[in-house]
């Protein structure tokens, strides 16, 4: 559509078309969570890391091992923690997406009570601080449940996953609602004129067209979630951040602080940066094809 418009548009209109497009892009960016990593952030992190290593080395006692040897020693443990972060992010994303798609559809329900309560749930969980939701799940859920005489323990990481899945759910719900409503009403009219019912129209005509539009914000959300998984350290889950704190207290060298924490940041950057670049590329591609 847009390429057609571009080729047919009068050249005299192009400057204002450009302005309108930029305005629309800005508007959309405000509406959806965006997280724009670029390579300069990586350089900044590396600089911080180098600076941290320098400080650590300068403050080292003669008996201490070198900063790189220390970091290397702890890396296997930290990597295990990082894998745990990723596991939490995968599960929270899957859970949140599933519930979020459901909630998003409920938001456009024709039944007023369903629509209202889906709207309230979405906006409550979208606007509540992630940490508060995490604390709620940590301390309000029991540490074990007894079902039909079988006692099932609920480990902390499960609760943390649940706590992170809630804001994901709310954000996915908004992404789904926004995508569905961004499909022109003429598509609904065309479907109605061909005697499709509402359910068929949604599933066969509207939703398939939404997937392209939903993918970039969804991936953005995933990158944000991955970075938020370190919140679980506050409630005592053994993820990378918690393990870093343990490593630091075991070493008991205050000089290591900056080096270790920027090292952790580098890990997250290395994971999230490709996702962010890929998102940008997808957005550009779909913007042309729509």
């Amino acid at each position: 559509m847009s390429s057609e418009v571009r080729s047919r548009a009068l050249p005299v209109l192009l400057p204002s078309a450009e302005r309108l497009r930029d305005a629309a892009l800005r508007e959309r960016e405000i509406g959806t969570p965006t997280w724009r990593l670029d390579w300069s952030h990586g350089i900044a992190l590396l600089t911080a890391f180098a600076l941290g290593c320098g400080i650590a080395q300068a403050q080292a006692q003669p008996a201490d091992s070198s900063i790189f040897a220390t970091i290397w020693k702890w890396t296997p443990l930290l990597a295990r923690g990082f894998v745990f972060n990723l596991a939490i992010s995968f599960m929270a994303m899957a859970l949140g997406t599933l519930a979020g798609v459901f909630l998003g559809f409920a938001q456009i329900s024709l039944l007023r009570p369903v629509k209202r309560s889906a709207f309230l749930a979405t906006h409550f969980f979208r606007n509540a601080p992630w940490l508060v939701l995490l604390f709620y799940c940590m301390f309000l859920l029991p540490f074990q449940v007894t079902l039909f005489g079988v006692t099932v323990p609920i480990p902390d990481w499960t609760k943390a996953t649940l706590g992170l899945a809630l804001p994901v759910m709310a954000n996915v719900s908004e992404v789904v609602r926004g995508a569905i409503q961004s499909i022109p009403t003429t598509q609904w009219e065309a479907a109605a004129s061909l005697a499709f019912n509402r359910r068929q129209t949604l599933w066969m005509i509207i939703f398939p067209q939404c997937i392209k539009r939903m993918l970039p914000p969804w991936m953005n959300l995933y990158a944000i979630l991955t970075m938020a998984t370190v919140l679980a350290s506050i409630v005592g889950v053994n993820e990378m951040m918690t393990l870093t704190q343990r490593a630091l207290s075991a070493e008991s060298r205050p000089g290591l602080l900056l080096a270790f924490y920027s090292y952790v940041l580098l890990w997250f950057f290395a994971y999230c940066y490709p996702i962010a670049r890929w998102t940008v590329r997808l957005e550009a591609r779909y913007a042309v094809n729509q």
Partner: protein, 258 residues
Amino acid sequence: MNPGSSSAVPGSNRETIVELHDVHQSFGDVEVLRGISFGVAKGGVACIIGPSGSGKSTLLRCINGLVPIKSGSIRVADFDVHALETDQQKIALRKEVSMVFQQYNLFPHKTALDNVMMAPIHVLRENPKEVRERALALLAKVGLATKCDAYPGELSGGQQQRVAIARSLAMRPEVMLFDEVTAALDPETVKEVLNTIRELAREGMTCILVTHEMRFARELADEVLFTDGGLIVEAGAPAELFDRPQRERTRAFLSQIL
């Protein structure tokens, strides 16, 4: 075009399939339709002309129940459109009345062939194999046999519009509504779409067209209705209305565009 049918008054010698009586519709305070009455005989072609904002498109959308009416009655075949309440009833009506839009409104994520096949398979629940054969035949009929696997984005406006016509025809409707189907096309492609509609009309499909193509209306229509301000100002056979308009408003409109 045989001269006998062009002067026929709809309903006089053939069964009336679409009948509107005193239809009113308003959006908020704006009265869009202020008492529209007309009928279209089975196999007849009615062309609605008039200035923008005179309620032409709304009128068409009322006929297939996309837009509810405030008062009056619309009858299409055996359906009392105004009385349809449930979705099922509206769906039953829309199986008989199909609509083609100004902006084509093809489903962009489906190929031309899939666009044509979707509704018969999922709405009419017909055998996919038979539907496929019919769809291929319809696409060949509108001159797009080679474009079956193209997506709408890869087709020109005129081609998209012909796919949209084939898509509507695949439902085997009794009545076809055309809402300014050539208004978004460039002059060269207008002809290919008009040829398709001409062929349809000659095969006996009941057509109601909202159009700005006066030559086409004159050639094809059994009756031309000139609307302005939500009213039918003047109606009649094309020869009469175009050559000897009775009302001052009609004369003014025609002198502007002819």
